[in-house]
């Protein structure tokens, strides 16, 4: 089964660098930055593309700085056309 694909956006100015999200992430997507934000904290950054959008990091974040997106596949139209390889038979499938 293909892995789900997700993305996170971190509000770095509100992050206090507690590292709890780093601990909660099953894919090790999050690391701490080398630089500090305006408050003087090392902030969380996304370093890998293997994020699955599981929301674990956002659930445990005490400052609610993480927004999570998940990629979903949707049909462009209500009806999708599927072409058979052997012939030119076109099948219409209702969603």
């Amino acid at each position: 089964m293909a892995k789900a694909k997700g993305n996170i956006i971190i509000d770095i100015e509100k992050c206090k660098g507690c590292e709890i999200c780093m601990d909660a992430c099953p894919e090790d997507v999050i690391a701490m930055s080398k630089e500090v934000n305006n408050k003087g904290y090392l902030y969380a950054v996304k370093i890998e593309d293997s994020c699955t959008g599981c929301t674990n990091c956002a659930l445990v974040c005490p400052d609610a700085v993480i927004t999570v997106y998940r990629e979903v596949k949707k049909k462009k139209e209500q009806v999708a056309k599927i072409t058979n390889v052997t012939g030119n038979i076109t099948v219409t499938v209702d969603k």
Binding site: K14, T55, L59, P62, V72, K73, K75
Partner: protein, 258 residues
């Protein structure tokens, strides 16, 4: 099968709740108060009761809860949050009233108020954050401090001979006939956060049924008071705090009654 017809769309699956005011919190990095605040805001958002909710803030670290949760708030004298919540609920019975208290507030100076509010069966939701220490004043021993746990006023560890045993106030109020739903949750792991949110949601829903007091304890960390890093303190809490304060529902509503 052609896959061109499938379009990839990014959907937002988690964002900051709108009831949680968009500002920086004064809590220490990694403090469980932030998660607890967010869960309350999420539940208020989902139930759509922003205009009908009144909170009561305590004295302690969470004294500024009114700056972070965007509902009407009152601030009570030390330990008296449940008494103030009683007054508000009796004057405005159609509103959802909750008090948000720490262990120094609820289990030490406000033990009397808490027990009598629960005994009278007031239709309020009491959210109790238990971190086993007086966090705001600098890590002194609280009634909920574990045996042999070090604090600034018990530097050699809590000696149960002279200082007594930790107070399990949640089990205590579960004995009272006035309480309807009593549970203990934590917010240190994603699974526990989900469970805590469900508990808070039940607390608000039961309040509508006018059945009695709902009491939710949230075992939390205090990494500054415990002198640990946030991740370490969560591990320590998992091993020690949860051994003394086991998670789970302590008193469930009788379903046949409801």
């Amino acid at each position: 099968m052609s896959v061109e017809s499938l379009e990839k769309i990014d959907t937002k699956v988690f964002e900051r709740p709108t009831t949680l005011i968009d500002t920086e919190m004064h809590y220490c990095p990694g403090c469980g108060h932030g998660v607890a605040h967010r869960l309350i805001a999420e539940v208020i958002d989902e139930l759509g009761i922003v205009e009908d909710t009144i909170g009561v803030a305590p004295v302690g670290c969470s004294v500024f809860a009114y700056n972070y949760i965007g509902v009407d708030f009152s601030q009570a004298a030390h330990g008296r949050a449940s008494a103030v919540a009683t007054g508000i609920k009796r004057v405005l019975p159609e509103k959802y009233v909750f008090s948000y208290q720490g262990d120094g507030d609820l289990a030490a100076i406000g033990t009397g108020e808490t027990i009598h509010t629960c005994n009278r069966g007031e239709n309020v939701l009491i959210i109790f954050i238990n971190n086993g220490i007086y966090g705001m004043t600098g890590g002194q021993m609280a009634p909920t401090t574990l045996p042999s746990m070090k604090s600034t006023t018990s530097p050699f560890g809590r000696d149960t001979k002279s200082m007594g045993f930790p107070l399990k106030i949640t089990e205590l109020v579960a004995q009272l006939p006035g309480t309807y739903y009593v549970t203990r949750q934590s917010v240190h792991k994603p699974l526990n956060v989900r469970r805590a949110k469900k508990a808070i949601q039940k607390g608000f829903e039961y309040q509508k049924l006018n059945k009695g007091t709902c009491f939710i304890e949230i075992v939390s960390n205090c990494n500054s008071g415990w002198k640990m890093s946030p991740v370490e303190s969560n591990k320590w809490m998992d091993e020690h705090m949860l051994a003394y304060y086991p998670l789970g529902d302590i008193k469930l509503p009788n379903d046949t009654e409801a």
